[in-house]
Amino acid sequence: MSSSSAASTASSPLRKTPLNAAHRQLGAKMVDFGGWDMPVEYSGLIAEHMAVRTRVGLFDVSHMGEIQLRGPEALDAVQLVSMNDASKLSEGQAQYSALLTPEGTFVDDILVYKFSPNDYLLVVNAGTQIKDFSWIKKHTQRFHCHVSDYSNYYSQFAIQGPRALEVLKKLTSVNLEAIKNYRSVWGQVCGLHNTLISRTGYTGEDGFEIYVPSDEATSTRVWNEILEAGREFDILPCGLGARNTLRLEASMPLYGHEITEETNVLEAGLGRFCKLEKTAFLGQEALLKLQQEGGPRRQLIGLEMTERGIGRDGYPVCTVEGEEIGIVTSGSPAPFLKKNIALAYVPLAYSQLDTELAVKIRGQNVRARVVNQPFYRRPKQQS
């Protein structure tokens, strides 16, 4: 048997979140994720995935980065580097966005929060945090705005699933029901007076992300209190394995896969988060030009395997006759849907719904079909 999953071959020591000892104590299998020593699973990927879909799961996402922009020209700075329109944000509101290169391709995908007219928080991916911070500083030099990296000051936990609210409710007197999707408030959680509570997540379920001080004692205490509060709902700690299968079922892109410095906003299907009509921003010109020229030549589509086999990251996508025409960016079994699914780039001609294609799996052409996205949408809340 040979294993093709990443093993730790650190030449420099791996970075650790404050929860590292807690993960090891819970028996987590650890993996090198972008230079971080992170839990990939605890009790089992499928069990963790199903916990989030049917009950509640807890993720340590402290490796993600937090970059704050403050000053009288903070909005101008954000508007230059971020493709979405931050001027539309109300206080406490968050929006999905991206930092773009002048070519209209991705430096990173981000969440932008507005705390006040002169105060914005950008939450960025772990593996790109250093790159993003340099990028933002470099391009916003002329603005009267401070760009500060707070990544080391915050631990971030994601409580996700239909019972997430009930769990967090036991740890705070903040009115969680009143926090709408993609809104945030500051409030008291686990006795800490200064916690950011955000109704956001990367799983396709309802849930909250909370930001607490990153000292090991506080972070570990909060982590344990969440697990304790969730015990009656059979909460599970969940690792990066389940995080990936959950976001894939929900058709959410992952930087380095669907979105890279070589992929543009329009072919990634993220145009609705890119406000080409707003004031000048990095990447705008290139994307307007691309639009004028008739749009992208290829499209990110969702595939469902129709024959037995799993189309995985990097596998070629072919016509049914076997001609290679595209590539899988993310592919995996979907534990909740009980299908094998993939996101892939194919030329426009092959991107129509129900198009029959194939994925080349270790030399064999295995049939797949273009399907609607998202693969999974959570059931509407009963009010």
């Binding site: 048997m1 294993s3 089992g44 990927l45 079994p333 270790r362």
Partner: protein, 129 residues
């Protein structure tokens, strides 16, 4: 976890249980633990040949694919059909979940495989425990 002393093992984490000239082949508990939840087994058909040290199929978990290397040469006489619908049986009891049975053409090949003791030593060196 005890590794059955009547089995022989490979450095690629397969086990073989030999009964006369027929060997039952599976993957070890160490292997299933590393892979995680197994979702798919790609096995050869009855009548196919296998060769010692060569790939004869694969086992897939949610997150990874692993090639299977045959411990011995011979002909496939049986394939475990249960693993088509319930591949998780490998996670639950790796040393009971045989994948194929092989009629060995060179039974002496089994002599160069690892004993349970050697295999346990090998994996403790691999993990650094």
């Amino acid at each position: 976890m005890a590794y059955p002393t009547s089995y022989r093992y490979t450095r690629e984490h397969e086990w073989i249980q030999i009964d006369g000239i027929v060997g039952s082949i599976g993957i070890t508990n160490y292997a299933q633990d590393s892979l995680g939840d197994i979702v798919f087994v790609d096995a050869p058909k009855v009548g196919d040949s296998v060769e010692a040290g060569k790939v004869f199929g694969s086992v897939e978990s949610v997150k990874a694919v692993s090639d299977l290397y045959s411990p011995v040469s011979g002909m496939v006489t049986a394939v475990n059909e249960e693993l088509v619908t319930a591949p998780e049986k490998i996670n639950k009891a790796a040393h009971d979940a045989w994948i194929i049975k092989v009629q060995m053409t060179k039974p002496a090949e089994a002599d160069s495989l690892l004993s349970a003791e050697d295999y346990e030593k090998f994996i403790s060196e691999e993990t650094g425990d």
